[in-house]
């Protein structure tokens, strides 16, 4: 048999119907739902008199627009409150498990899926959110979908798809101290561009990827969509199985051993061919900082703001010019001279316990600069409890960071956590688009260590040499 990629194996195992000239009907093992992109889908079901085919394969939580302040208080944003209430009503009507605002399991949908063991190797997963690619860190094929597709999956437990192309990104070698998973993915996006993965599913491979923890792999897979890819995946290995053992929804005992045997077969076959491949040498990577208005506008922390005149095409020159006007930076400025007003540590990219540990280690015994307001938002209630058990909240608070409840928060500012016009933010999130964190706000994407260091220094610093 022809050697197969991991994508091909998972895809083939989920085909319900594949006929030339038609979309493939692909079976979906897990559907994750949140409050912002689902109300119109449930309404569509009601209008058509349809049911949710597999409520037991569907899990919901509230994360996008939820306040990160005291949860015992009423939500002041009435439109957000209605959306939250609508999800609760829909889950109750259609029999779907919901981790609501008062659940100990609430959190960002892409944080709680893996945390609860819902995310597993070889599964097909969807969610009405582009960062669904996160779940690929455990070897799942996880695809972000729109609201019509949510309705389709709710009604049929299947998704209509065209087979994607495959893209292997191989990363070899050891990362330097201070260089993280976030820097790997930002530098990949910088290299291939924000459309570089369009139409493909990425499989990350190589010794560097193998050496990463599951949470670090999640950071890499999470931002696959920022290169345009449908999904990003890492083949399961012992690190994956150690992570999954004893999670709530993981198989137990003998069933777990049988699952591991199956999961082992998901790895790409020797000699499997990809539509596209690139290789990256981890030794060459430095901490990254974005300077513009998309994640591909990124440079090493030792770099400078580029000159639009150096761009290869007129389109790119215009784009860079516009971006620099928006972020108010001048070509040639050293990134380490760029001062920040706000710092956000959180989001489905970097809000897990290892992210918070790394940021806390940087912040320990230091003080946030008086000119900076800094926020730490754990990815889930479980992450929050764990961090508090380890005393990380104390470290952050003593340093002058605010410590909040779990949610998407200032990654997209659908709740009250937003930038004011003109404010500049070092953010561990995934998008530095215009207005993403608040109209007129300027976002620089960095790793948790880089964000914590910027909070303290008041400007970007190279964490490799910073004392």
């Amino acid at each position: 048999m022809k050697p197969r990629t991991m994508f091909e194996k998972i895809w083939n195992a989920h085909i319900v119907r594949e006929v030339p000239g038609e979309a493939t009907i692909l079976y979906i093992d897990t559907h994750l739902v949140h409050e912002v992109t689902s109300p119109q889908a449930f309404e569509g079901l009601r209008l058509a008199g349809r049911k949710v085919r597999c409520p037991h394969l569907t899990f919901a939580t509230m994360d996008h627009n939820v306040p990160t302040t005291d949860r015992s208080l009423p939500i002041t944003d009435l439109i957000a409150a209605k959306q939250i209430e609508t999800l609760a009503k829909n889950c109750s009507e259609f029999g779907i498990t919901l981790y609501d605002l008062h659940s100990a399991k609430q959190g960002i949908v892409h944080v709680i899926g893996p945390e609860l063991g819902i995310t597993q190797p070889g599964k097909t997963m969807v969610c009405g959110d582009s960062h669904t690619s996160t779940h690929g860190a455990l070897g799942a094929l996880a695809i972000g979908i729109g609201t019509s597709e949510i309705e389709h999956v709710l009604a049929t437990q299947c998704l209509l798809q065209q087979r994607s192309k495959t893209f292997e990104i191989n990363i070899e070698g050891q990362l330097s101290h201070g260089v993280t998973a976030k820097d790997i993915i930002l530098s990949i996006i910088g290299k291939i561009g924000i459309g570089g993965g369009t139409g493909t599913v990425v499989e990350y491979s190589g010794s560097t990827i193998r050496s990463l923890s599951i949470e670090e792999r999640m950071t890499v897979c999470n931002m696959s969509i920022e290169a345009g890819a449908r999904a990003g995946m890492v083949a399961p290995d012992d690190t994956t199985y150690e992570y999954l053992a004893d999670r709530e929804f993981s198989p137990k005992g003998e069933a777990f051993n049988r699952a591991v045997e199956r999961w082992n077969r998901l790895r790409p076959d020797e000699g499997a061919s990809y539509d596209k491949s690139i290789s990256i040498d981890a030794k060459t990577l430095a901490p990254q900082v974005t300077w513009g208005t998309n994640p591909g506008m990124v440079t090493d922390v030792t770099g400078v703001v580029p000159d639009p005149d150096d761009m290869p095409t007129l389109d790119e020159k215009n784009a860079v010019q516009r971006a620099l006007e928006y972020v108010n930076l001048t070509p040639g400025t050293q990134m380490t001279d760029v001062q920040v007003d706000r710092v956000f540590i959180g989001s489905c990219t970097n809000s897990r316990i290892t992210d918070l540990r790394a940021a806390a280690e940087t912040a320990k015994g230091r003080k946030v600069a008086p000119t900076v307001n800094a926020l730490v938002v754990p990815g889930s209630q479980a992450v929050k409890r764990q961090a508090e058990a380890e005393g990380l909240d104390g470290i952050f608070r003593a340093a002058g960071f605010e410590w909040r409840e779990a949610g998407c928060s200032m990654c997209l500012g659908m709740n009250p956590d937003i930038l004011m016009p003109g404010q500049r933010c070092a953010s561990t999130s995934n998008r530095n688009f215009e207005g993403r964190q608040g109209k007129g706000g300027r976002t620089h994407l960095v790793s948790p260590q880089m964000a914590a260091a910027a909070a303290i220094a008041g400007h970007f610093v190279d964490v490799r040499t910073w004392e």
């Binding site: 079976y27 309404e43 627009n65 979908i145 009604a155 065209q162 784009a319 215009e434 207005g435």
Partner: protein, 197 residues
């Protein structure tokens, strides 16, 4: 969904690359639970000044482009977030089609589901169309999905590719859920052999 067969309409150029869905419909407008009414917020932060007035420098606000139904944009249009509010907003504003050299994958799928046609034309042709639209006071194009062609008023035609299935869905205004459910027995059969752990 309304079928899309052939459309002739006024064009507006958006000569920018990588227009993301956060620009098409900013997050503060995603809290509504309806599918309708998003057109008022399309390109909100570009279309409106901080005072709430229309931004006279933004191309969509130019008097000559009022009533436009075809948007011609730069490469990678609709990248970013999966929000289907983006095609809803474009359609609610009055757009029937978007022409660009490439699209974000999720955005493109979302367009198909709503009968908004994403048309891929090469960078050269797209750029040329943008130049022509800018140069001419009233510039119309015809998009014929049946023959898969974008036709200029002088008769020049540009062929475009689209998957057979998407094309049929758009031409017939097909309910995809209904389409899939005709294979319900195949789904049930798959489920009976599915590994559960």
């Amino acid at each position: 969904m309304e079928p899309f067969r052939k459309h002739t309409g006024l064009c507006v150029p958006l000569n920018r690359i990588n227009v993301d869905t956060d620009q098409i419909i900013p997050k503060q407008f995603l809290k509504r639970i309806e599918r309708t009414g998003f057109g008022a917020y399309l390109f909100h932060d570009w279309r409106f000044l901080d005072t709430g007035e229309l931004n006279p420098d933004f191309v969509l606000n130019a008097p000559r482009y009022q009533g436009a139904s075809i948007l011609v944009a730069g490469t990678n249009f609709g990248c970013g977030s999966s929000r289907e509010h983006a095609p809803w907003a474009l359609q609610d504003y009055g757009f029937a089609a978007v022409i660009a050299p490439s699209f974000g994958d999720i955005f493109r799928n979302n367009c198909y589901k709503n009968g908004l046609l994403p048309v891929v034309l090469s960078e050269d042709i797209s750029a040329d169309l943008i130049r022509q639209i800018e140069a001419q006071e009233v510039y119309r194009l015809t998009i014929d999905l049946e023959s898969q062609k974008v036709i200029q008023s002088d008769g020049t035609a540009h062929a475009f590719e689209i998957g057979d299935f998407q094309r049929q869905c758009l031409l017939n205004g097909l309910d995809e859920i209904g389409w899939t459910l005709q294979f319900e027995s195949s789904i049930a059969e798959y489920e009976s052999g599915r590994e559960v752990y």
